[in-house]
């Protein structure tokens, strides 16, 4: 089922074009990461699809329907910094969210437990650390057990421990089958959590697909054998090599299109080269990302 369909959305603030002609689809069960440098339109996109901002052109549909008030029950969103009443306790802040979403008050205990805040439920919001505040924000989004989570930089400003906590919460929710749309700068986290990714640049979608498909391209192969330069020459002549460099210890190369590491191994053996080492290093999302947005 298509959970979200965005068609040709554009949004500008005066002369600044924040999002331009953006179209993408999110299917049920995906953990969809939206990546992009600062100012690429990630927050604007999420703000449009959650109804906070109105696009100048284009449209979007949730659950294959026009969005309306019911959306808030099915979609939990965390856009920018969450705002709570500093003088109210965690419990009372969440109680307000329960009343707005028409969710039973007893759900508060459940989300506090998921986010590890049960012991602090009576504490005032302004006494919490940044990590706890972010976890409270996640707790508020989880109220009512929505089918979809829309999260804008959920680990923003957190220390490594906080980032790991947030990542675990997101993973747990993803394992329950929720659809998650996540905007983040932290590429390592997107790599670990997301199944699909869309890359924005200057308000436009420049790449999208499965995370492991984006990683398949241009894997680096490291091979070693006794006659390095000879092997290198043979591989180049046979059309295995896209890019390469070698030294006395190893040859580092990227394979040409439609060639696999298994093909290379078989070819080397057939031509009398016994490889002492063959290592496949997947290109990181970060390097992919940086290449795309440069």
């Amino acid at each position: 089922m298509t959970i979200l369909e965005i068609q040709n959305i554009s949004k500008h603030y005066g002369k600044i074009q924040a999002v331009k002609g953006l179209s993408l689809t999110v299917q049920k069960g995906m953990v969809f990461g939206i990546l992009g440098p600062n100012g690429s339109g990630k927050t604007t996109t999420l703000s449009v699809i959650t109804g906070i901002l109105k696009p100048q052109t284009g449209s979007y549909r949730w659950f294959e329907q026009e969005p309306s008030k019911w959306l808030n029950r099915k979609v939990g969103s965390l856009i920018e910094i969450p705002y709570f009443y500093p003088y109210l306790s965690l419990y009372h802040n969440l109680k307000i969210h329960c009343l707005i979403k028409n969710v039973p008050e007893k759900d508060i205990e459940r989300v506090l437990e998921i986010t590890g805040l049960t012991t602090r439920k009576g504490s005032r919001f302004d006494t919490l650390s940044l990590g706890m505040k972010q976890r409270l924000a996640l707790a508020s989004v989880l109220l009512g057990d929505p089918e979809v989570l829309v999260l804008d930089e959920p680990a923003n400003g957190l220390d490594p421990e906080g980032i790991a906590e947030v990542r675990n919460i997101i993973k747990l929710e993803a394992e329950k089958g929720k659809t998650i749309i996540l905007a983040s700068h932290i590429l390592d986290e997107v790599e670990k959590v997301c199944s699909h990714v869309g890359v924005l640049k200057w308000g436009q979608l420049i790449a999208s697909g499965k995370v492991n498909e984006l990683l398949v391209e241009d894997d680096t192969i490291i091979i070693s054998c006794e006659r390095m330069s000879e092997l290198h020459e043979v591989l180049v002549r046979a059309g295995f090599v896209k890019t390469s460099h070698f030294n006395e210890q190893e040859i580092t190369l990227t394979l040409a299109d439609e060639k696999t590491s298994a093909d290379l191994n078989a070819f080397a053996f057939k031509n009398g080269f016994t490889l002492s080492q063959i290592e496949v290093r997947k290109k990181s999302l970060e390097s992919q990302f940086l290449e795309l947005v440069r």
Binding site: I52, Y85, L88, L99, I100
Partner: protein, 275 residues
């Protein structure tokens, strides 16, 4: 609707500043009543205690309560200003409320606080009237009790104007200053630019005139004194200082009209501007 009311109750019930202001309001009002009750004018034929008797007690206590309407308005400004400062209006829209819901929720608080004011006047007036009135009868007790409703409308008027100013300026301190300035300075100065008759129609003038100052000498004078002296008040009209006040029903209608205008402006502003 019930949900919106519950949301606002959660906010105010656990907000220490709100409780402090209301307690302060309560204590100040009682203090003024107590001090007033201790006033002793040693003039034969003049009895201050008449103000504490039915039916005049409704008028005098509503008038004294009106002094503290500014405090109630400041309370409302604080609550609305906080929503902008903490960006919780924005968060509530993100979570699922509409902008209209935000206004309706705060309107419930306006009505609740005004009701608190009315109950305070009702309670104190009733106690005072029962203690000080000789010769109780239903007619005497209830003769001017309609002023409770009038006071309610006045309190709503003050707070709705405060709500509007808070929505315009979105900053608690600035809104309080602007509210007080408008009340004490801006409107009085603007009124001076208009003909005397027109000055009566301005919003603060109308709303504050809902509970006019009681005629002290008339109420305080015993009957023999009234018979002997005749009209108690200096004829300010004759010497050109005062204009005839507007009829009460017109003042009430205009007050309700201004409340409707302020409320409409609040809706328009919140709908059009980013929160």
């Amino acid at each position: 609707m019930k949900q919106l009311f519950k949301i606002e109750l959660v906010k105010i019930w656990n907000y220490a500043s709100f409780r402090v202001i209301l307690i302060l309001h309560f204590l100040l009002f009682l203090l003024v009543l107590f001090v007033s009750s201790q006033i002793d004018i040693s003039v034969p034929g003049v009895t201050v205690k008449n103000f504490f008797q039915f039916p005049h007690v409704w008028e005098s206590f509503a008038w004294i309560a009106s002094w503290f309407n500014l405090l109630l308005a400041v309370t409302l400004i604080l609550l609305v200003g906080n929503e902008f400062s903490f960006k919780t209006f924005r968060q509530q829209v993100i979570t699922g409320l509409s902008r209209n819901d935000l206004i309706i929720g705060k309107s419930f608080i306006v009505l609740l606080v005004a009701l608190y004011g009315v109950l305070l006047v009702l309670l104190t007036s009733t106690i005072s009237g029962l203690i000080f009135t000789r010769g109780l009868s239903l007619a005497v007790v209830f003769e001017k009790s309609y002023l409770l409703v009038v006071y309610f409308i006045q309190a709503v008027g003050y707070m709705t104007l405060g709500f509007l100013i808070a929505v315009i300026f979105r900053n608690t301190a600035l809104s309080v200053v602007m509210y007080l300035l408008y009340f004490i300075l801006i409107e009085p100065i603007i009124r001076l630019l208009f003909p005397r008759e027109a000055r009566l129609y301005f919003p603060v003038k109308i709303i504050s005139n809902l509970t006019p100052r009681p005629e002290f000498l008339t109420i305080a004078s015993d009957e023999p004194m009234l018979d002997a002296v005749g009209q108690s008040n200096l004829d300010l009209h004759a010497i050109g200082i005062a204009t005839d006040p507007l009829p009460f029903y017109l003042t009430l209608l205009l007050a309700l009209g201004y409340i409707a205008i302020f409320s409409s402006l609040i809706f328009i502003i919140l709908r059009k501007r980013d929160i």
